[in-house]
Symmetry: C2
Subunit: 168 residues, 2 copies
């Protein structure tokens, strides 16, 4: 079967978000085992001007959610960024996975040339669907998933590369 926009997006998002949720499980279990307040891990940052763990998870989720919606050409679905615990972050991931799983292949396939406009405080960026998926959504999704993983690992949580890669 030929590679399709659907294959390169939805199953990829679902796999990475599933791995991210399992990484959070390991983080929470480690905090409990070492009697560390989970809030300590949640406040972790890789640099003073980088986001703490919850924001990393929220952005990873938003990349998948926004990616699915924009490629399908449907209205963006807002999810407020209110999570402050591991449990709430896992629920956010689960809700995002459910949302993206709701997209059918025929909504996403053929979106290679669909115009995607990203609005930023400083202006906007016009991309094709293919540029958006390969050059924006996937790098950002992996960036924020890696940051989440690295914050936990920096704090001594025994996660390994296979937790990140998961099911190939």
């Amino acid at each position: 079967m030929s590679l399709s926009m659907y294959q390169a997006s939805i199953p990829t998002f679902v796999r990475m978000l599933g791995n991210l949720s399992a990484i959070l499980d390991k983080g929470l279990a480690d905090a409990e085992a070492r009697k560390i307040d989970p809030a300590v891990f949640l406040a972790g940052r890789l640099a003073p001007d980088m986001h703490p763990l919850p924001r990393q998870v929220q952005i990873a989720c938003d990349m998948a959610k926004g990616g699915a919606a924009r490629l399908a050409g449907v209205l963006l679905h807002n999810m407020p960024d209110t999570e402050t615990t591991f449990e709430e972050l896992k629920a956010r991931i689960a809700k995002t996975v459910d949302y993206v799983k709701g997209f059918k292949a025929d909504q996403i396939d053929g979106s290679e040339e669909r115009e995607v406009i990203l609005k930023f405080p400083g202006g906007e960026m016009k991309l094709t669907g293919q540029q958006y998926l390969l050059g924006f959504v996937l790098p950002n999704l992996y960036f924020h998933a890696t940051a989440t993983y690295a914050i936990l690992r920096h704090n001594g949580v025994a996660v390994g590369k296979m937790d990140f890669i998961g099911q190939g």
Copy 2:
């Protein structure tokens, strides 16, 4: 134009490696500006049992190099991991970019179902070309590029997300 295995691999590798090289430029310039021995940044790790910066760059390069070769079904091209300076790491990236640019679309396209066997100390993993690209090469490439970025940013280098994402 339909999404193809070539489009999802070679231009994606070239863009990310180019951004990584520019991130290293900023790291070296910052070390010089702040009169910090660049070896300090190169020794940086996100956790005691994670790789230091040079190994992160080498693995990112190897993901692109191995990805291109395995999808095209050609022999793996070995590059020894000898780099110890920013300049040498940039040369490794440039050599890798040249190598992957040497692949033509018709060598990579149609590799969705090509069998890819990854050998590890503990055994082997059999994947289709599509699983290998989407579930192994890209996540690993972005993981190690993010780790490189985060090591520099953790050390106070003023890199930002646009340096990572670069040209969409």
